[in-house]
């Protein structure tokens, strides 16, 4: 779920005509002082992090002068709260509170409807309100096609004990709240507390909004970079991975890092799962062998080989790994040779040194294992492939044994190599990359293994040359499934006149940075 910060959520409320406290967002003590000065009244400073209970963590502070605001801001900025470094503070008028209420909207999985929750008691966590004052909580089911109607809204406010003008105001607020949730496709939207001030104004004093990951693409105005739930901002590598997922709808690719800086003493492995349930089970097996996964990764739902390749390249952009572990449910419906080919291309390019255990149980597992065994002989690493007969625990144990055979080998991140393509090569685009063919090499190749390997039969002989036999548009739209079979066949059984380029935007620069950092660390340790 893509979370918005408090200040972003409030901005959306404000745009819809809901009153929020006056104030602004500050990234420096000077800006905080500036806002405080403009407000000219007692203020509150609130750190912008996705952590509940900010007050008890010292993340909500009060000030009366701009100087004080500046002082507090300098204390708060840069503070590390859980996985968050504070870089923004919301500076707002301090409200004169007469009463605190609660209003929220969630999507109820049992009812399969949005449910509006309103309570005349607010300020604390909704669970606490529910346990102390269950009678104060009003739950109202929303018809997703109609929204909240005026009569319903008035009835809710009345049921909560409000009448006259405030009843009307609350009703209007609730209608808007439901509209905002619908408009931005919120998984949840919570205003807590909703405040009635001493001047009898209704103000949204705090707001939290979570947008449906799957709908983020319809809301570019929200500027969400990575539509995934994290308890911290996404890492650079996660952003790169997310872009891959965003650009390719075929299958699923989910990646996040569990630890960003891998301590040298840790036994950390790159983890590459397949399927939510199977990945979880496989991670448990890793943990039982005393490993720590550096990352979580799931390529499933019949992803093309190109996607699995990119996932492997991203996993192998983490320095210090001592092993690579891939394992899913064990009985996958997808054709597992796609995953095998994706891994082969990545491991060959990386000249992988750390051992890898690949559990590819499922459809065509025999072929998948054979691909791994046949084409990875030239790399230094030992790679073992297993099928559904071997449990994740067995495979995790094998990885441990392989690591023990050659202790001390750690993965070094290498620069992304630019492929050498002849200037006059024949090139056509695939959905996410391109394939080049060097006719000179093909002329000397009599077997033409690429033709037989091509699973969708889009390559053929045209006047003696290897060419697309469908239109370039069709190839790009997905007729070329990026199965990578042609490249592997050409490399091992042909004359090396064909290759597929699968760019991963940002990864080259990212790796360069990692390599620089590693160098510095090594230099330091020599001194």
């Amino acid at each position: 779920m893509a979370r918005l910060f408090e200040y972003q959520s409030k901005e959306l409320l404000k745009q819809a005509g809901i009153r929020i406290p006056w104030g602004g967002i500050a990234s420096s003590p000077e800006e905080a002082a500036e806002i405080a000065k403009k407000l000219g009244q007692p203020i509150v400073l609130k750190i912008q992090v996705w952590v509940t209970g900010r007050a008890s963590l010292g993340g909500i502070r009060f000030a009366t002068t701009p100087e004080e605001a500046s002082q507090l801001a300098s204390e708060l900025l840069g503070l590390k709260i859980k996985n968050f470094v504070v870089d923004k503070i919301l500076v707002e008028e301090k409200l004169e509170i007469s009463r605190e209420l609660f209003a929220g909207l969630v999507i109820d999985d049992a009812l399969k409807k949005p449910v509006l929750i309103f309570s005349s008691v607010g300020g604390r966590g909704v669970e606490e309100i529910a346990s102390h004052y269950p009678e104060k909580i009003i739950r109202h089911e929303i018809d997703v096609r109609k929204g909240l109607e005026a009569a319903e809204a008035l009835a809710i406010a009345h049921q909560a004990g409000f009448s006259d003008s405030i009843q009307k105001e609350i009703a209007e607020f609730l209608i808007k709240l439901v509209e905002i949730a619908r408009k931005y496709e919120a998984r949840s939207l919570e205003v807590n507390p909703l405040v009635i001030t001493t001047a009898n104004e209704l103000v949204a004093a705090d707001a939290h909004m979570v947008i449906d990951d799957y709908a983020v693409f319809r809301h570019p105005e929200l500027g969400i970079e990575v539509a995934r739930e994290f308890d911290r901002p996404p890492t650079e590598l996660e952003k790169i991975a997310y872009k891959v997922e965003e650009k390719d709808y075929r299958g699923t690719f989910y990646f996040f890092q569990m630890i960003e800086d891998i301590p040298k003493e840790e036994i950390v492995v790159g983890f590459h799962g397949a399927g939510g349930g199977g990945s979880m089970m496989s991670m448990d097996a890793l943990l039982r062998q005393g490993f720590r996964p550096a990352n979580y990764c799931d390529t499933s739902g019949n992803p093309p080989a190109s996607k699995v390749y990119r996932a492997a390249k991203i996993i192998l952009s983490q320095p210090g790994l001592i092993g690579y572990f891939a394992s899913g449910s064990g009985v996958a419906s997808q054709e597992q040779y796609h995953s095998a080919r994706g891994l082969v291309k990545a491991f060959l390019e990386e000249k992988l040194e750390i051992p890898a255990v690949i559990r590819l149980g499922g459809n065509f597992e025999e072929l998948a294992i054979e691909i791994l065994q046949t084409y990875l002989k030239e790399i230094p690493a030992k790679v073992e492939g297993y099928g559904r007969a071997q449990s994740p625990d067995f495979c995790a144990l094998r990885l441990k044994q392989l690591i023990e055979e050659k202790p001390g080998v750690r993965h070094k991140v290498r620069p992304m190599e630019e492929p050498l393509i002849p200037a006059d090569a024949y090139i056509f685009s695939t959905m996410t990359g391109s394939i080049w063919i060097d006719d000179r090499q093909c002329e000397t190749c009599s077997d033409r293994p690429c033709l037989e390997a091509c699973s969708s039969k889009i390559l053929g002989l045209v006047e003696g040359k290897i060419r697309l036999v469908i239109s370039p548009e069709e190839a790009q739209k997905g007729k070329c499934t990026e199965c990578l079979a042609c490249e592997i066949a050409c490399r091992f059984h042909g004359h090396g006149g064909l290759g597929i380029i699968l760019p991963i935007p940002g990864l080259k620069e990212y790796r360069q940075k990692i390599i620089e950092t590693e160098k510095q660390i090594n230099n330091q340790s020599y001194r």
Partner: protein, 299 residues
Amino acid sequence: MSILVDEKSRVLIQGITGREGMARTKLMKDYGTKVVAGVTPGKGGQEVYGVPVFNSIAEAWEKEGPIDISVIFVPATGVKKAALEALEAGIKLMVIVPDRVPIYDVLEIVAVAKEKGASFVGPNTLGLISPGKAVLGMIGGRAERAREWFKPGPVGVASRSGGMTSAISYYLTESGLGQSTIIHVGGDVIVGLSLPEVVELFEADPETKIIVIFGEIGTTQEERVAELIRNGRCSKPVVAFIGGRAAKAGTRFSHAGAIIEGTRGSYESKANQLREAGAWVVESIAEIPFKVKEILKSI
């Protein structure tokens, strides 16, 4: 008997000319599913593995006769439109395979389906299979594999994880235990038929003697299964595995639906409630076939 689908069900494929649509049409046909028509707007007149393609469901219905089930393979953003078209045409069961369907789209489909007295499996589902009869979606991947992995028998299997649906059923088959119907309810927060709804269908199916569920943290599905057992609306034995016990290490699952329910949604809540209600909660997948055998012997 079986639930939701058998060899007589008349099936239509939406998005039949796409990558997944084509591949899985082959699976379904080869397995024996009665695939009578396909739909891709603008591609009417073509054929996919001998299945005629139409521009709309209305047209397919008119030419090929009544349709019971639609399996949807269109890209996620087009699912709402496709599903509403199917409901409008009078189809009573849909299998929505794609992943990443926006939640409000699903909520709208739920609302319309309810009005029309229809239901659906998914989104984000591998589909379902009644072994020996018919398969919907992509479970098994290829017909010969589906025949090898899944056999007819007394166990009803429902799971929230696609891969584990196949894995559990395969291990049951290996142990000589066949399945009545195997269903992946889908991995999303809002799904058409959730675990408790499938459990009720298994309860009503005379062939199903025992129910196996694979649950996961998040949502209230497993708690609602426990409730069914407590209320006597599920009298058949239930064996359950709940995934995500160690997921705290950073795999965060969403609990938006559980906000009022407090601890509902956690591994402990699900496992405890199911146990207290009288279900067998096992600690590993490998235990499932043994437990099922043991229980079947005693009834």
